[in-house]
């Protein structure tokens, strides 16, 4: 299921840990979708002198975090910002389709940490991060084909081309135009 490279980064992850004196911290994901990542960066002379991470998630999520940390270490801020999810997946020798979601989180967490560093440099007081909503409804994967959904894709699955709407009863995403919700079976459309 996983490439040798993924298994190597999962079993022997690089740069695991916390930087107590980090210059930037980024956190993405939540346990509802199964993955949560925190990245810590230390910046010296415009380069990422140190990168550490912690990850709650599957094998792919851990391998992706490890790979991102390795790719980012020593890079300039701009170079690190140019690390994309696709590049990470490519470096890992590919990921199963339903795990692409994890690679998306990896680069995002790094970019969040860099953003946090830039904000601190600019003297922007970081807004209190809202607690991850653990009761938020699925929305991590298409309920019809299980492909991972991007944040902006909550209305449409690019893989199976299904258009979604939010179920007024349970809040889950379900096929637009269906008579009942795929999750809770409540009638859609006409309310009451």
């Amino acid at each position: 299921m996983y490439s040798d490279k993924v298994m190597d980064h999962f079993a022997n992850p690089r740069n695991v840990g916390v930087l107590a004196d980090a210059d930037g911290v980024g956190q993405v994901g939540n346990p509802v979708c199964g993955d949560m990542m925190t990245f810590y960066i230390k910046v010296d002379g415009g380069r990422l002198a140190d990168v550490k991470f912690q990850t709650f998630g599957c094998g792919a999520a851990i391998a992706v975090s490890s790979m991102v940390s390795e790719m980012a270490k020593g890079k300039t801020i701009d170079e690190a910002m140019a690390i994309t999810n696709d590049l990470v997946a490519e470096e890992l020798g590919g990921l199963p389709k339903n795990k692409m979601h994890c690679s998306n989180l990896g680069a995002d967490a790094l970019h969040e940490a860099i953003k946090n560093y830039k904000d601190r440099q600019a003297g922007v007081v970081p807004a209190a991060k809202p607690e991850a909503d653990l009761h938020e409804h699925d929305g991590c994967a298409c309920p019809y084909c299980d492909s991972a959904l991007e944040e902006q894709d909550k209305t449409f699955c690019r893989a199976c081309r299904v258009e979604f709407e939010e179920c007024p009863t349970c809040g889950g995403i379900t096929k637009k135009g269906d008579k009942t919700c795929i999750h809770c079976g409540a009638p859609l459309g006409a309310k009451g």
Binding site: P31, G34, G185
Partner: protein
Amino acid sequence: MRKVYLDHIAATPLLPEVREAMRPYLEEAFGNPQSLHAAGREAQEAVEAARGDVAALVGSRSDEIYFTASGTEANNFAVKGLALGQQAKGRHVVVSAIEHSSVLNSVKALERQGFAATLVPVDRTGRVDPAEVGRALTGNTVLVSIMTANSEVGTIEPIAEIAALCRARGVLVHTDAVAAAGTVPLDVKALGVDALTLAGDQFYGPKGSAALFVRKGVRILPLVDGGIQEGGRRGGTENVPAIVGLGTAARLAARDMESRAAALRPLRDRILDELPRRIEHVVVTGSRTDRLPHHASLCVEFVEGEGMLLFLDMNGIAASSGSACTSKALKASHVLLAMGFDHATAQGSLVFSLVYPSAGEDVDALLEAFPPIVDRLRKMSPLYTAFLKERGS
């Protein structure tokens, strides 16, 4: 490295006696049971003998057993066939929130056809309260389907009580006994159910072998339309080797069930007692009293199931998880969520299900390998770091 297989709920090994019983029907005895000639008669006799063995396992008549290709098919057959068969009387069905997807999605299919459905909740141990089922019944209810035992948390449900209550109201009862049949004694008369699903790959029979018991006189519509096989209720040429394997496995289960359970129960209890003792923040899921004899399940807080499974696999130990990442759908187990576990805890769900014969050394291997795995993954977990910070250590 010792290979330790703790994934009974995924598949059981085929018993040598079962394989030998099947072999002639994969080789020289290839006839079609519906044929008039000797080869056909030979196959038909084998199918009918197997039907008798399966009937004996659950205390039914032979002609109340219908062979299917999987537990999923039998559940579809039961839920759709029974509900559609009674729809002149009403169009409401009741199931529990922790049913297998083959029951839940069959109910969704009925809803698309205009049926109404009620999901009955479960308590923290995964037990359905019969009184809740009673409250869910309406004048329109035609079918109640509650599983005999849940494969993810091992809890055995009070089916006899539920069935008595439904019977008094004239409502049919189906039970998905895939996780229980062949491992705990079941008698359809004592349970008082109208239909029951069982699958051979849960008691050392072949994959692709399953059956539905339907009480004589109960109207059920076919799921697979076709010829005269299975009394016209399930078309398609009989899978004779699988059916023979199912029958043999059923006969052996009826004979050996008690001794297998007696051997596995102490191993199960050792896992359930020892892991929470050796690792902090481990919660046993399911009931400690009404529990399948081969089934241990728990949630490990602050880590996710797949990582644990991968490391266990590297240590030669096969187990399974109900976590989001191991299911393709990236969703936490509906069973654990229905039992009131939060998402983060549910993601750390693991099931260790023992196959017969397992040895004390298998459990030793697990107890030794597992704590360092959890430790390693927790060191990587931001949730664990946050927890330690909160606790002030």
